[in-house]
Subunit: 152 residues, 2 copies
Protein backbone atom coordinates (compact mmCIF):
# COMPACT_ATOMS: atom_id res chain seq x y z
CA UNK A 1 0.00 0.00 0.00
CA UNK A 2 1.20 3.53 -0.78
CA UNK A 3 2.31 5.42 2.28
CA UNK A 4 -0.62 6.95 4.15
CA UNK A 5 -0.35 9.73 6.67
CA UNK A 6 -2.97 10.68 9.25
CA UNK A 7 -3.43 14.31 10.16
CA UNK A 8 -6.03 16.78 11.43
CA UNK A 9 -8.10 18.15 8.57
CA UNK A 10 -7.68 21.74 7.46
CA UNK A 11 -10.32 23.90 5.83
CA UNK A 12 -9.05 23.14 2.34
CA UNK A 13 -9.84 19.44 2.92
CA UNK A 14 -13.59 20.09 3.30
CA UNK A 15 -14.59 19.38 -0.33
CA UNK A 16 -12.60 16.11 -0.33
CA UNK A 17 -14.15 15.08 3.00
CA UNK A 18 -17.67 15.81 1.75
CA UNK A 19 -16.99 13.76 -1.38
CA UNK A 20 -15.85 10.86 0.83
CA UNK A 21 -18.92 11.10 3.04
CA UNK A 22 -21.07 10.79 -0.08
CA UNK A 23 -18.99 7.94 -1.53
CA UNK A 24 -21.02 5.41 0.40
CA UNK A 25 -24.17 3.36 -0.07
CA UNK A 26 -26.11 5.32 2.57
CA UNK A 27 -24.21 8.57 2.42
CA UNK A 28 -25.04 9.14 -1.24
CA UNK A 29 -28.62 10.01 -0.32
CA UNK A 30 -27.64 12.05 2.72
CA UNK A 31 -24.92 14.31 1.40
CA UNK A 32 -24.98 17.15 -1.10
CA UNK A 33 -22.07 17.09 -3.51
CA UNK A 34 -21.85 19.71 -6.20
CA UNK A 35 -19.27 22.02 -7.73
CA UNK A 36 -19.68 24.32 -4.81
CA UNK A 37 -19.62 22.80 -1.34
CA UNK A 38 -22.80 23.62 0.52
CA UNK A 39 -22.36 26.41 3.09
CA UNK A 40 -23.54 24.09 5.86
CA UNK A 41 -20.36 22.00 5.50
CA UNK A 42 -18.12 25.05 5.85
CA UNK A 43 -20.09 26.17 8.90
CA UNK A 44 -19.74 22.72 10.44
CA UNK A 45 -16.00 22.68 9.85
CA UNK A 46 -15.58 26.13 11.35
CA UNK A 47 -17.61 25.06 14.39
CA UNK A 48 -15.33 22.07 14.89
CA UNK A 49 -12.08 23.83 14.17
CA UNK A 50 -10.33 24.93 17.33
CA UNK A 51 -12.36 22.68 19.64
CA UNK A 52 -9.66 20.59 21.37
CA UNK A 53 -12.19 17.77 21.92
CA UNK A 54 -13.36 17.54 18.30
CA UNK A 55 -11.00 16.64 15.50
CA UNK A 56 -11.69 15.62 11.94
CA UNK A 57 -8.86 13.36 10.81
CA UNK A 58 -7.95 12.68 7.21
CA UNK A 59 -5.86 9.86 5.80
CA UNK A 60 -3.78 11.19 2.95
CA UNK A 61 -2.08 9.12 0.30
CA UNK A 62 0.03 10.69 -2.45
CA UNK A 63 -1.57 14.08 -1.81
CA UNK A 64 -5.14 12.75 -1.94
CA UNK A 65 -7.60 12.40 0.94
CA UNK A 66 -8.53 8.69 0.98
CA UNK A 67 -10.10 8.36 4.41
CA UNK A 68 -11.73 10.43 7.14
CA UNK A 69 -13.09 10.08 10.63
CA UNK A 70 -14.10 12.40 13.44
CA UNK A 71 -12.72 11.89 16.95
CA UNK A 72 -14.58 13.32 19.93
CA UNK A 73 -13.08 13.24 23.42
CA UNK A 74 -15.83 13.01 26.04
CA UNK A 75 -14.97 13.50 29.70
CA UNK A 76 -17.66 11.87 31.81
CA UNK A 77 -18.49 11.24 35.43
CA UNK A 78 -19.66 7.68 34.76
CA UNK A 79 -17.39 4.64 35.12
CA UNK A 80 -15.34 6.42 37.80
CA UNK A 81 -14.75 9.57 35.84
CA UNK A 82 -13.69 7.77 32.68
CA UNK A 83 -12.85 9.85 29.66
CA UNK A 84 -13.94 8.19 26.43
CA UNK A 85 -13.15 8.64 22.77
CA UNK A 86 -16.02 8.53 20.32
CA UNK A 87 -15.41 7.85 16.64
CA UNK A 88 -17.92 9.25 14.13
CA UNK A 89 -18.11 9.52 10.37
CA UNK A 90 -15.60 6.85 9.39
CA UNK A 91 -15.19 6.66 5.61
CA UNK A 92 -12.63 5.09 3.31
CA UNK A 93 -12.56 6.01 -0.38
CA UNK A 94 -14.11 3.27 -2.52
CA UNK A 95 -10.86 3.18 -4.48
CA UNK A 96 -8.96 2.27 -1.32
CA UNK A 97 -11.25 -0.27 0.35
CA UNK A 98 -10.15 -3.80 1.19
CA UNK A 99 -6.51 -2.81 1.61
CA UNK A 100 -6.43 -2.46 5.39
CA UNK A 101 -6.75 1.31 5.51
CA UNK A 102 -9.85 1.24 7.75
CA UNK A 103 -8.01 -1.05 10.15
CA UNK A 104 -5.06 1.33 10.28
CA UNK A 105 -7.38 4.32 10.82
CA UNK A 106 -9.18 2.73 13.77
CA UNK A 107 -5.88 1.49 15.18
CA UNK A 108 -4.57 5.03 14.95
CA UNK A 109 -7.68 6.36 16.72
CA UNK A 110 -7.32 3.78 19.52
CA UNK A 111 -3.65 4.78 20.00
CA UNK A 112 -4.78 8.40 20.12
CA UNK A 113 -7.42 7.49 22.74
CA UNK A 114 -4.74 5.86 24.90
CA UNK A 115 -2.43 8.85 24.47
CA UNK A 116 -5.21 11.13 25.69
CA UNK A 117 -5.91 8.97 28.73
CA UNK A 118 -9.24 7.57 27.51
CA UNK A 119 -10.32 4.25 29.00
CA UNK A 120 -13.08 3.52 26.49
CA UNK A 121 -13.50 3.90 22.73
CA UNK A 122 -17.03 3.91 21.36
CA UNK A 123 -18.78 4.21 18.03
CA UNK A 124 -22.04 3.23 16.44
CA UNK A 125 -22.44 1.51 13.11
CA UNK A 126 -25.57 1.21 10.99
CA UNK A 127 -27.04 -2.29 11.44
CA UNK A 128 -27.37 -2.53 7.65
CA UNK A 129 -23.56 -2.54 7.42
CA UNK A 130 -23.09 -6.15 8.52
CA UNK A 131 -19.48 -6.18 7.37
CA UNK A 132 -18.74 -3.11 9.49
CA UNK A 133 -19.87 -4.82 12.68
CA UNK A 134 -17.61 -7.79 11.93
CA UNK A 135 -14.78 -5.42 11.10
CA UNK A 136 -15.04 -3.61 14.43
CA UNK A 137 -15.43 -6.91 16.30
CA UNK A 138 -12.19 -8.09 14.72
CA UNK A 139 -10.57 -5.02 16.29
CA UNK A 140 -11.88 -5.92 19.74
CA UNK A 141 -15.08 -3.88 19.89
CA UNK A 142 -18.21 -5.57 21.19
CA UNK A 143 -21.77 -4.68 20.19
CA UNK A 144 -23.04 -4.46 23.76
CA UNK A 145 -25.32 -1.47 23.14
CA UNK A 146 -28.22 -0.42 20.97
CA UNK A 147 -27.39 2.71 19.02
CA UNK A 148 -30.57 4.77 19.01
CA UNK A 149 -31.20 7.81 16.82
CA UNK A 150 -33.94 10.40 16.74
CA UNK A 151 -33.87 12.71 13.71
CA UNK A 152 -35.46 16.09 14.50
Amino acid sequence: MTEVIFRAAVRADVPAIVALLADDEFGAAREAVSEEVDAAYWRAFDALDGDPRNTVIVAESAGTVVGTMQLIVIPSLSRRGTQRLEIEGVRVASTHRGAGLGRRMIGWAVDEARAQGCKLVQLTTDKRRVDARRFYESLGFTATHEGMKLPL
Copy 2:
Protein backbone atom coordinates in the same frame (compact mmCIF):
# COMPACT_ATOMS: atom_id res chain seq x y z
CA MET B 1 -45.32 14.27 41.01
CA THR B 2 -43.41 16.83 43.09
CA GLU B 3 -42.13 19.71 41.03
CA VAL B 4 -38.85 18.87 39.32
CA ILE B 5 -36.45 21.40 37.90
CA PHE B 6 -33.72 20.70 35.38
CA ARG B 7 -30.46 22.61 35.61
CA ALA B 8 -26.76 22.35 34.81
CA ALA B 9 -24.90 20.58 37.58
CA VAL B 10 -22.56 22.51 39.83
CA ARG B 11 -19.52 21.11 41.62
CA ALA B 12 -21.46 20.57 44.84
CA ASP B 13 -23.75 18.12 42.98
CA VAL B 14 -20.90 15.69 42.23
CA PRO B 15 -21.42 13.37 45.25
CA ALA B 16 -25.15 13.13 44.51
CA ILE B 17 -24.49 12.42 40.83
CA VAL B 18 -21.97 9.70 41.66
CA ALA B 19 -24.47 8.11 44.04
CA LEU B 20 -27.06 8.13 41.22
CA LEU B 21 -24.65 6.58 38.74
CA ALA B 22 -24.07 3.75 41.20
CA ASP B 23 -27.78 3.34 42.00
CA ASP B 24 -28.20 0.99 39.07
CA GLU B 25 -27.93 -2.73 38.33
CA PHE B 26 -24.81 -2.32 36.17
CA GLY B 27 -23.45 0.88 37.67
CA ALA B 28 -23.10 -0.63 41.14
CA ALA B 29 -20.08 -2.64 39.98
CA ARG B 30 -18.62 0.19 37.95
CA GLU B 31 -18.74 3.14 40.33
CA ALA B 32 -16.89 3.84 43.57
CA VAL B 33 -19.09 5.29 46.27
CA SER B 34 -17.62 6.04 49.65
CA GLU B 35 -17.67 8.80 52.24
CA GLU B 36 -15.18 10.67 50.18
CA VAL B 37 -15.83 11.01 46.47
CA ASP B 38 -12.95 9.57 44.47
CA ALA B 39 -10.67 12.27 43.05
CA ALA B 40 -11.30 10.97 39.51
CA TYR B 41 -14.91 12.19 39.71
CA TRP B 42 -13.88 15.69 40.71
CA ARG B 43 -11.32 15.78 37.92
CA ALA B 44 -13.94 14.63 35.43
CA PHE B 45 -16.35 17.32 36.56
CA ASP B 46 -13.69 20.02 36.35
CA ALA B 47 -12.80 18.82 32.83
CA LEU B 48 -16.43 19.11 31.77
CA ASP B 49 -17.17 22.37 33.52
CA GLY B 50 -16.86 25.33 31.22
CA ASP B 51 -16.99 23.27 28.01
CA PRO B 52 -19.98 24.78 26.17
CA ARG B 53 -20.54 21.46 24.34
CA ASN B 54 -20.60 19.27 27.45
CA THR B 55 -23.18 19.71 30.16
CA VAL B 56 -24.13 17.49 33.05
CA ILE B 57 -27.78 18.08 33.83
CA VAL B 58 -29.44 17.28 37.13
CA ALA B 59 -33.13 16.90 37.87
CA GLU B 60 -33.83 18.34 41.29
CA SER B 61 -36.90 17.68 43.38
CA ALA B 62 -37.41 19.30 46.78
CA GLY B 63 -33.70 20.12 47.01
CA THR B 64 -32.58 16.57 46.14
CA VAL B 65 -30.90 15.39 42.94
CA VAL B 66 -33.19 12.67 41.57
CA GLY B 67 -31.93 12.35 38.02
CA THR B 68 -28.92 13.09 35.87
CA MET B 69 -27.78 12.96 32.27
CA GLN B 70 -24.91 14.35 30.23
CA LEU B 71 -25.58 16.28 27.02
CA ILE B 72 -22.86 16.56 24.38
CA VAL B 73 -23.29 18.79 21.34
CA ILE B 74 -21.36 17.36 18.38
CA PRO B 75 -20.91 19.48 15.26
CA SER B 76 -20.19 17.18 12.34
CA LEU B 77 -19.59 17.34 8.62
CA SER B 78 -21.72 14.29 7.93
CA ARG B 79 -25.42 14.48 6.98
CA ARG B 80 -24.86 17.89 5.38
CA GLY B 81 -23.10 19.45 8.31
CA THR B 82 -25.65 18.29 10.85
CA GLN B 83 -25.04 19.12 14.48
CA ARG B 84 -26.18 16.34 16.78
CA LEU B 85 -26.90 16.02 20.48
CA GLU B 86 -25.65 12.96 22.27
CA ILE B 87 -27.12 11.88 25.58
CA GLU B 88 -24.92 9.90 27.96
CA GLY B 89 -25.19 8.67 31.54
CA VAL B 90 -28.96 8.86 32.01
CA ARG B 91 -29.95 7.88 35.54
CA VAL B 92 -33.11 8.26 37.58
CA ALA B 93 -33.03 7.65 41.34
CA SER B 94 -34.55 4.27 42.21
CA THR B 95 -36.93 6.10 44.54
CA HIS B 96 -38.28 8.10 41.59
CA ARG B 97 -38.58 5.48 38.86
CA GLY B 98 -41.86 4.68 37.13
CA ALA B 99 -43.25 8.16 37.63
CA GLY B 100 -42.41 9.64 34.23
CA LEU B 101 -39.26 11.48 35.28
CA GLY B 102 -37.08 9.76 32.66
CA ARG B 103 -39.59 10.70 29.98
CA ARG B 104 -39.51 14.32 31.08
CA MET B 105 -35.72 14.32 31.18
CA ILE B 106 -35.37 13.00 27.63
CA GLY B 107 -38.10 15.34 26.44
CA TRP B 108 -36.19 18.22 27.99
CA ALA B 109 -32.99 17.08 26.27
CA VAL B 110 -34.77 16.87 22.90
CA ASP B 111 -36.14 20.39 23.37
CA GLU B 112 -32.61 21.53 24.21
CA ALA B 113 -31.29 19.83 21.06
CA ARG B 114 -33.85 21.70 18.95
CA ALA B 115 -33.02 24.99 20.68
CA GLN B 116 -29.35 24.47 19.83
CA GLY B 117 -30.11 23.73 16.19
CA CYS B 118 -29.37 20.00 16.34
CA LYS B 119 -31.04 17.81 13.72
CA LEU B 120 -30.33 14.49 15.38
CA VAL B 121 -30.38 13.16 18.94
CA GLN B 122 -28.44 9.99 19.66
CA LEU B 123 -27.67 7.74 22.58
CA THR B 124 -26.70 4.16 23.22
CA THR B 125 -28.32 1.86 25.72
CA ASP B 126 -26.98 -1.42 27.09
CA LYS B 127 -28.74 -4.32 25.33
CA ARG B 128 -29.33 -5.93 28.72
CA ARG B 129 -31.68 -3.04 29.56
CA VAL B 130 -34.60 -4.30 27.45
CA ASP B 131 -37.01 -1.87 29.09
CA ALA B 132 -34.74 1.05 28.21
CA ARG B 133 -34.87 0.26 24.50
CA ARG B 134 -38.67 0.15 24.61
CA PHE B 135 -38.70 3.37 26.61
CA TYR B 136 -36.60 5.23 24.02
CA GLU B 137 -38.62 3.72 21.17
CA SER B 138 -41.77 5.09 22.79
CA LEU B 139 -40.12 8.52 22.57
CA GLY B 140 -39.47 8.13 18.84
CA PHE B 141 -35.90 6.80 18.86
CA THR B 142 -35.10 3.85 16.60
CA ALA B 143 -32.40 1.27 17.23
CA THR B 144 -30.86 1.55 13.77
CA HIS B 145 -27.27 1.20 14.95
CA GLU B 146 -25.03 -1.17 16.84
CA GLY B 147 -23.42 0.56 19.79
CA MET B 148 -19.88 -0.80 19.96
CA LYS B 149 -17.49 -0.32 22.86
CA LEU B 150 -13.83 -1.08 23.33
CA PRO B 151 -12.55 -0.72 26.91
CA LEU B 152 -8.84 0.13 27.00
